[in-house]
Symmetry: C2
Subunit: 411 residues, 2 copies
Amino acid sequence: MTITSFPSSTAAGLFAARASGYKPSPVREVFDISMQPGMISLAGGNPDLSVLQLDALADTAAELVRTQGLDALQYGGGGGTRELQELICAVMAAEGNPALPANVQVTAGSQMALELLVKLFCDPGDVILAEGPTYVGAISVFDGLQADVVHVPMDDDGLIPGELERKISELAAVGKRVKLLYTIPNFHNPSGVTLSAGRRADVVRICREAGLAIIEDNPYGMLSFDGLYLPSLHQLDPENVFYLGSFSKIFSPGVRVGWAVVPDDVRRQLQLASEATTICPSVLSQMLVQEYLSQTDWRQTLASAGDLYRDRCEATMTALADFMPAGTTWTVPGGGFFTWVTLPEGISGEDVMYRAIGHKVVFVPGSAFYSDGAGDNQLRIAFSFETPERLREGVRRLGLATAESIQGATA
Amino acid sequence: MTITSFPSSTAAGLFAARASGYKPSPVREVFDISMQPGMISLAGGNPDLSVLQLDALADTAAELVRTQGLDALQYGGGGGTRELQELICAVMAAEGNPALPANVQVTAGSQMALELLVKLFCDPGDVILAEGPTYVGAISVFDGLQADVVHVPMDDDGLIPGELERKISELAAVGKRVKLLYTIPNFHNPSGVTLSAGRRADVVRICREAGLAIIEDNPYGMLSFDGLYLPSLHQLDPENVFYLGSFSKIFSPGVRVGWAVVPDDVRRQLQLASEATTICPSVLSQMLVQEYLSQTDWRQTLASAGDLYRDRCEATMTALADFMPAGTTWTVPGGGFFTWVTLPEGISGEDVMYRAIGHKVVFVPGSAFYSDGAGDNQLRIAFSFETPERLREGVRRLGLATAESIQGATA
């Protein structure tokens, strides 16, 4: 048997229009760089899994396969297991969000739930509003499904309602059909800011009045540093808000289990679209999550994780103050994984990134989080995965790279 | 906290055109019926997992979480783990199919790989050719992505090359753009037939000359009753054939691990589209499959499974001969999970199904496997999951239901 490489193909000439929408993600590309020896990574939003009790989880996995293997390894229902749907509602209740199991669709990560909802709601050319900046993986979904992304400015209190109204009016005036607002109200990725309580009611009202639905993406909500939670948009208007949740940041991304909560009259189409994509969510993964939620003190583990991330955030804040050149500003997160850094006027995040890699630190430049080329003098720092000591050293190196870039710009 | 149901929503008025393409799958609907007590299910294509050594697999899962949990539970590469890509090539080699790890994209089941390829290659209105009948889950993908399905007739040697040429000419004559042939050459779902060796070269040549690519879906190829394998279409023309493989039938559907092998110049777009859908395949599932393939005698397990399915197929064939009314015909599979039954002229598979459910046996009526309303007097029998005794009893009940339907038609 000879094994040949396939250097060229006739097939590549057949690509559909939407194929060109899938562009390389800068986050995935720096993923490879972050694996280099000695590199400090401020790039990927990986959770620190050291809080998990791996020995106990190993026993749980063994017991699961041994006693329920014929179910765990078989096909399951397309919407997810009933047990997990119920436990997801308990997790949401612990954050103050009411939901019913029948409205829960389990997916292979909440990324997939987002993809399905955009597939169901956006024809090519439809507009999705999103914070500027926004989650890079959401931009991939919107681009791939040929939806147009229009950014809405945010400040330290999150999305600005007046700007949201203005964008909706502007788009209506030029005949564009706005279908969705995609928003991450809690500990926003990449900006780290949280939509204030006062603004939540405004955002919900504006969208309802304008006839667009909201996708509320909430992977970080339970990673609050002070243990307090604001009411979700979903809670304020469950008929018009699709809620996305994830176990990736509060348990494990490797199991790929997320979910959407949608109104009754969207639920069936969402499940059919999900079945067309993956038939059913992994039963093994779902049952492992079920065991984790029902057999362990997961809220205590989550509290430990919150303490860990808070310490890392504080170390990052201190290091930014100590090492970044004058004229640099950054957000002060109340939870989650990220802070958003604005470099001095005229300094490019990409230029700093190339210099920073030379100093053995890597991060994602700000332009990755916009679909319109903005964010050039910004960058995202993830403080979730490195120790406080390494975060401090990483920011010190970032400060050096930034100073070099300033020197280069003024030379 | 009050929990409310969401009886109506403003959001449902915003559905995109493609949303109406997602229709309920008859296979999934009879899934619920097949759970009723006393029901014999000839419906779902579930593998029999009793061949697996669950105790050993439980130990493997525990060891995996205990010693490699920080990797298994974390995010992984978007294309799949390098180890699994290599093992997939070894699995394909065992069936006589050469492939390189760099050309392998791992997905959450091969259903997802199919969805991604159709997304990348078909604009709305593009035509996909598929056997008539074809896999019901493929029809969901095509409908959801607004591709038009045109069926190509098959006989006991599989897809008929002359009919393929004729359909391509007819579609060209009316200005339709044909992008893909979707085919299941081995132990076809639902028909149970295999594309003959002689026809394989013809099919590959016809598609290449007509400028369309082939998606070769091969979940059942290794479940050959005589242990012999025909050359894959991918092997005959690797530059123009996208190959889909799955662990669902040869190991476990519950882990949701499948793959695609594509040419170099399609590989990158496929991974980007995959990342936009699920970020990465489940690392835990991938590593469990790796351990299964590298630590156990999986080919021996597969041979045992093949023996099991062959016995069940034979029991089904005997029962069909013993119990079905005159004028009924069926295919004789050389492997896989299914046989395809053609009822006497004028008898409807759906009518027989409703009567059969009363007799406590369920199957999928033939019309589910066509996008154009054909197949009304046919039905699919899955022999993979029930014991030979229950298969015989199920077919006996099916015979009663069919006789009743004939009586009803002539009354």
